[in-house]
């Protein structure tokens, strides 16, 4: 038997007349195409044919459709398919292709973008038919408007080329949760998490990008489907007002879990907007050490170095020798933000100087930190304005700046990226 493979579009099928081949009578027109998910590509199993507005629709199984040639003009059915057995019972995993995808937005996981589906691309192999691509290109729009021959003639004449279809493989298509109203949003746990598997591998930055481009309800619904680590990392990448609106869409326990996973400085930023009682409740649910740290950060007014700093840094006693110091650094390494600068302190935690990791590695084993440290260090106080901090970074090219209190005790460090983020977000917000 000769194998025939053809591509066709969903809109080639929609609206086509369906004729009963035994009687020659028109049954109706195709109004929906339904597929069942298979391993990779969903297979189309039936058509919904709208007969007329008073007689409603009828489902016709795909195997009952006689083979047809392309381009599709008319679909014919095998004999006696309109028996009164009724429509085949659909199960929950059915994909209503038109209803769920045509003209809707999806996430193109390969390009990390939110795109609108202009058409769907089907593969017809003998008498089976599969959903293989979505078309997100301009050509699909023109085709559906019926102007494709004109467009092709025009572009061929002007640029001597045709505009190509922009297809995204079904493998990379992620449907958005079909939530439109707020009431639905609160009511149901959106969908099985497994169906959002392919979003799991996205980088949090890409995920944040995708979420930003969705409408509020969709954003919250999709965010709910993420696993906690990805959710908290994604949240860190967003602007404060979006962060707040996303968190508000979740229930309190989930909010707390996500906040608990975030870096303390980011969590503190968010918590600082809570009313006092809610703050305390939230903090209570954290592990004590983290709660203490966040409380500490919260005591510093916004837009100062104190609110900007992280408390995950390495500070070692001036009396340690180089090998001892290296061992300490190694022990601390997994938990700290800035590992390159090692701060040297005395018994009262007062900041004496700083050693870079390079210096530490290249010094002789006998020397003590107090001998090799650099004492000319630039530091800021907890109440220094964040703009000033950013200016220092610009001036000195540091990766981090230590923050001290009035007694010169080290309280934390401001990382370069945090300072830049904060100041940049101010610039952007003015727009």
């Amino acid at each position: 038997m000769q194998e025939t493979k053809h591509f066709l579009f969903l809109t080639d099928l929609l609206g086509r007349k369906v004729i009963d081949s035994s009687t020659g009578k028109t049954i109706g027109r195709v109004s929906e195409v339904i597929a069942t998910p298979k391993e990779v590509y969903p297979e189309i199993n039936r058509l919904v044919v709208k007969r007329s507005w008073w007689r409603g629709s009828v489902d016709i199984n795909w195997p009952d459709i006689l083979s047809f040639d392309l381009p599709v003009k008319i679909l014919q059915t095998k004999n006696n398919i309109l028996n009164p057995a009724g429509p085949p019972s659909g199960n929950g995993s059915d994909i209503h292709i038109k209803e769920n995808f045509l003209d809707k937005q999806i996430v193109d996981v390969s390009g990390c973008k939110v795109v609108r589906v202009n058409d769907l691309h089907l593969l017809k192999e003998n008498n089976k038919i599969w959903l293989v691509h979505v078309d997100v290109g301009f050509r699909a729009i023109v085709r559906r408007l019926g102007w494709l021959p004109w467009l092709d003639r025009l572009t061929e004449w002007v640029f001597s080329t045709k505009i190509r279809d922009k297809l995204v493989s079904w493998k990379y298509v992620q449907q958005l949760p079909s939530i439109t109203t707020e009431e639905h949003l609160g009511a149901s746990p959106v969908k099985l998490k497994s169906s959002y598997q392919c979003l799991r591998d996205l980088h949090p930055v890409d995920m944040a990008d995708i979420l930003i481009n969705l409408s509020r309800n969709e954003r919250i619904a999709l965010f709910k489907t993420l696993n906690l680590p990805l959710a908290s990392e994604t949240l860190c990448e967003m602007k404060p007002d979006v962060q707040r609106s996303l968190l508000d869409g979740l229930d309190r326990p989930t909010q707390r879990m996500i906040l608990n996973m975030m870096a303390p400085d980011k969590a503190a930023d968010l918590i600082s907007h809570y009313p006092l009682r809610r703050r305390n409740e939230t903090l209570k649910s954290f592990e004590p050490a983290k709660a203490e740290e966040i409380k500490n950060l919260l005591t510093h007014p916004e837009e100062t170095a104190g609110a900007l700093m992280t408390t995950k840094y390495v500070a070692l006693s001036k009396d340690l020798t180089v090998p001892e110091a290296l061992a300490e650094v190694k022990k601390a390494a997994p938990a700290v933000d800035g590992i390159y600068y090692i701060y040297v302190i005395d018994e009262s935690h007062a900041l004496l100087g700083m050693v870079t990791l390079r210096k530490l590695l290249s010094s002789s084993d006998q020397s003590k930190l107090s001998e090799i440290m650099n004492t000319k260090i630039v530091k800021v106080k907890t109440n220094t304005r964040e703009r000033t901090v950013a200016n220092i970074f610009v001036k000195y090219n540091f990766m981090a700046i230590p923050v001290v209190d009035n007694q010169n005790k080290i309280k934390g460090i401001v990382m370069f990226k945090n300072a830049v983020e904060k100041v940049l977000s101010h610039l952007v917000r003015e727009d």
Partner: protein, 445 residues
Amino acid sequence: MNEFNKSNSPKPDQKNGSVLSSDTVASVEAKKMPVLGWWGSILLFLSLLGPGLITGNFGNDAGGITTYSICGAEFGLTMLWMVIPVTLLLIIYQEMSGRMGAVTGKGLSDLIRENFGIKIAFYLMIIKFVAGIANATAEFGGIASSMELLGLKNKYLTVPLIGIIVWVLPIKFSYRRVEKLFLIGILFFGCYIVSGFLSPVEWPEVGRQMITPSFHFNDPKYLMLFIALVGTTIAPWMIFYHQSAVVEKGIKVSDYKYFRWETIFSGLTVGAVIFFIIVTSSSLYDNKINVRTAQEVAQALEPLAGHYAEILFAVGFLIASVGAAIILPLSTAFSVCEIFGWESGVNKRFVDAPQFYGLYTLQLIIGIAIILVPGINLIAVMVLSQVVNGLIIPIVLVIVIILINKKKIMGKYVNGPLFNFISIAATIAISISAVIMLITVLREI
């Protein structure tokens, strides 16, 4: 509890190393008080103030002001009765588009595309683009007229020059600032209210005309002004713009009952502006002044500003026109790009959003070109552009009514019977008037 209220006032410190100390006593971040009762409601209302007020008053652009003025100048107080129904309709439609925005979190273009498919969406966008060009033309008409009043008579020089400024402003500056500039321009038209009280208006007569509907079926001028008045107050772009503004502001359904008051409040301010412009301009009718240029339109402000009426009018008119010449074409470009899924936004670079900037530029260029036609009557152009809006608005209204009644989209926030009755009746009335107008005008020709 006091943990969070501790203020860390800096002590006089020993300056060691290169510590950068700031001397400002930083106050602990103000805690957000829980919103309570009457006062809280007012605060919330104020925080929601914006989308309706901005959108509604953008309707008072060059086309709007001119249309209202001509209504007064041509027909005296006889068109005054329209203020009430038009304001009511504006409130109803802004409420509906705002509700759609709050419930779905999506813009109107998105909803149209997802629920009507590409074909209807596409042809609607073509119509919307035509309206966009009409509006751009009206704004440049306003720019040309106000420059004339300010003594710069050469429109071939002034209009392209300001056209370039208009084109560059939103790209080089921020869109929000343009919006604010525009609102300042609109404040100028508060002058009409003062002028209204200063001029010898017979208030009992005004009151009587407010509640006496009149309709001249066979007067094409009256019919055209009727449609223009509707089209400029409830312009197609406004419905799109308002919904987007609500979405962007992140207004949620739970805030919506407060948000309704914002809609009503802003609708009433628009109604007041229309009312006072018609009332003050009716003095032109009483004095048998035949309005052919903006110079005559400006005379309505004479009771307030005397000889300076023209300058006052020209400055306000110019700012409002420049603002609208930016915002209206931009909003059209946004909608079209949203339908096709093209990149859009003034923060994008030209190469990243070529369609967006292309559409924006095209509207400006066509608008300018029409105004530069030698000997064109600017007042007529400005009113006609609003007639175009008035002919298009029934289509948009029908779409809004269909969308807002879909349970799938709106859930329990679908329209109630009263809203449906009023909006459907009004849409039918506007459509019939539009058809009558078209027939009458075509017969005249």
